[in-house]
């Protein structure tokens, strides 16, 4: 115990004495949290909207006015012909071209049926999908008005009842993407910082030659490893705390659940990451190598975590792979506890898998750390 104390003391001194490292540990992650949470959103706003109106009637103008009134669309211009519209799309001046055909109003009133053409720039497929949904919603709303308008005087009972869905968004009532992203990005920061720090720390001692000196002392492997990793565990928990405060103060993210559950889970989760970091450092000789390997895993973990893309839409083999992704569980738990108020029983599946993961990774790490070769 005393021996561990000496190592922990030394590590903290070295961390706090390293003027270049301190901002990397404490300032950059929080800046990232603030910037990314504002920037990483799936909402599509300020869509550059243009139209070709071949009808020039009150009905066609009413439809365009609907788009104009929407928050999502900026009506940029109208085009007299398709050719001009497509060259503008090619230049990237517009995202959406709505084409209203001739006899739009006449067909609508007489035949109760007409068609409009929508062209969407789909280079960013996800954005195009969202834009399509918005356009459909506006057209539908317009449709209803047209239907209701002329029919008002007649008997309402005779009207076919439209099936209306009333969406109810649970746990994130306002569909606020920040509420969704902040817990996730916090997870990334805690993971990246603890993984990089622990992965590089022991390699650094290898590089400067002090590890050999340590290996010549009678210190036990477990003492050395615990003493080495404990400071990074503390830093990880500290980052979580600061991140949660920022989430509350700046983003007003709801904290429905029990903070104790969140901390308990994170305490175990960080052990997984430290185990991975130590394992990496045992098999690398330079900080550069360790950095590259850590980066490789972080990128895969992040992209397959369900943070940016839903796991449900991945191919089956990829879904199986995500089972081995610790970040996936952390993201799930953070969102469950923060937004849904899940209790310990609810997160038990994630908790037990993470605990098992921690035991395996740290077992491997201690086993692969050799004082002699």
């Amino acid at each position: 115990m005393k021996t561990i104390g000496y190592i922990v003391q030394k590590e903290f001194k070295q961390i706090f004495r390293n003027k270049g490292m301190l901002p990397i540990i404490f300032v950059l992650p929080l800046l990232q949290l603030i910037i990314l949470s504002n920037a990483a959103t799936f909402e599509v706003k300020n869509i550059k909207f243009s139209y070709i109106d071949k009808d020039h009637t009150s009905a066609s103008r009413a439809l365009i006015e609907k788009f104009n009134a929407s928050n999502y669309f900026n009506v940029i211009t109208d085009f007299p012909s398709e050719t001009l519209a497509s060259s503008a799309m090619l230049k990237g001046e517009v995202d959406v071209v709505l084409e209203i055909p001739r006899f739009f109003e006449r067909n609508l009133l007489k035949e109760k049926h007409t068609e409009i053409a929508v062209t969407i720039n789909a280079i960013d497929g996800a954005a195009a999908g969202v834009e399509n949904v918005y356009i459909n919603q506006i057209v539908q709303a317009y449709n209803k008005k047209i239907q209701v308008g002329p029919m008002q005087p007649s008997n309402q009972m005779g009207m076919p009842k439209n099936i209306v869905t009333i969406p109810s968004f649970w746990y994130n009532k306002t569909l606020n993407y920040k509420t969704f992203m902040v817990p996730g990005i916090l997870v990334l920061l805690v993971t990246m910082i603890t993984l990089f720090l622990s992965g590089m720390n022991i390699v650094r001692e290898k590089e400067i030659g002090t590890l050999e000196q340590i290996n010549v002392t009678p210190i036990k492997k477990s003492q050395f490893i615990i003493g080495k990793l404990f400071p990074f565990w503390v830093i990880g928990m500290g980052l979580l705390t600061t991140g949660l405060i920022i989430a509350k103060l700046i983003f007003d993210v709801p904290m429905v659940g029990n903070l104790g559950v969140m901390y308990l889970y994170t305490a175990v989760y960080i052990l997984v990451i430290l185990g991975i970091g130590l394992f990496i450092s045992n098999y690398t000789d330079t900080q550069q190598q360790a950095m590259f390997i850590a980066w490789f895993f972080v990128v895969i973990f992040i992209l397959m975590s369900g943070l940016f893309t839903p796991i449900e839409s991945m191919p089956e083999w990829a879904q199986i792979l995500t089972e081995f992704n610790p970040i996936k569980y952390f993201v799930e738990v953070m969102r469950m506890v923060m937004l849904k108020g899940s209790s310990f029983i609810d997160i038990l599946p994630q908790f037990s898998k993470t605990l098992l993961y921690a035991l395996i990774m740290n077992g491997l790490a201690v086993w692969s750390y050799k004082k002699a070769n």
Binding site: K2, T3, G5, Y6, I7, Q9, K10, K13, Q14, R17, N18, I208, G209, T210, E212, Q213, I214, N215, V216, T217, P218, I219, K371, A372, N373
Partner: protein, 271 residues
Amino acid sequence: MKKENVIQAKNLTKKFGDFTAVDAITFEVGQGEIFGFLGANGAGKTTAMKMLIGISIPTSGAAEVANFDVFTQAEEIKKNIGYMSQKFALYDDLTVKENITFYGGIYGLSRERIKEKRCQLVEELGLQEVVDELVSSLPLGWKQKLAFSVALLHEPKIIFLDEPTGGVDPITRRQFWEMIYKTANDGTTVFVTTHYMDEAEYCDRVSIMVNGKIEALDTPKKLKEQFEAETMNDVFLKLARSPSPALPKGKGEINSNLNEYELKKSSPLGR
């Protein structure tokens, strides 16, 4: 005057794949002896030393250090030895005081003992002024003396020094050897590798490794007689130049030997 042996190696061998770095070396070192472990670069000195201090597992053979077996009792050996590596291995970003406290702590010394040792060490080395300075700010010579003293903190039976005076000025080198003598007088065995042949003359006994084998082992005086040489430098050159199957003799090697000769001549320690 026959003293107890603290290091015994028998046919100690280390192979890395097909390459035999240390080839069945056999020797003994007595208590309180200053044992010089010589050899050209790449002769296998450091590898042999690493096996004795328990951070490299021998391929075959047997060895005991401080009466503990290198295969099964490496951790026991580590309690009884001190080691100073070629690379400076104190923490540059800790102060003199913090380095002493850290190493004392991991060797299991009590707080009072660490404090007592620290005061004694700082006074002996005359480091009072810089005790709270970062080690990185010290000149190399001071660093080496500090590293040597830190390796002796836990009062080991044997101290292993791997080229302790590399890159150090002649005055510091002399002071360093005074420290080595003092340590040996206190009963600690000193196992030292060096490239300076004048330093070899100061050792009680010297072994010379060539291509993983010990080719000569005796007191400097007897070695000079045996090889009919004036100085240890000549003994070394004769041995290192002898034809060997493993390494082709090229001009480069002879030149490097000559460089060492020049170095020795220009050193004020040379006789």
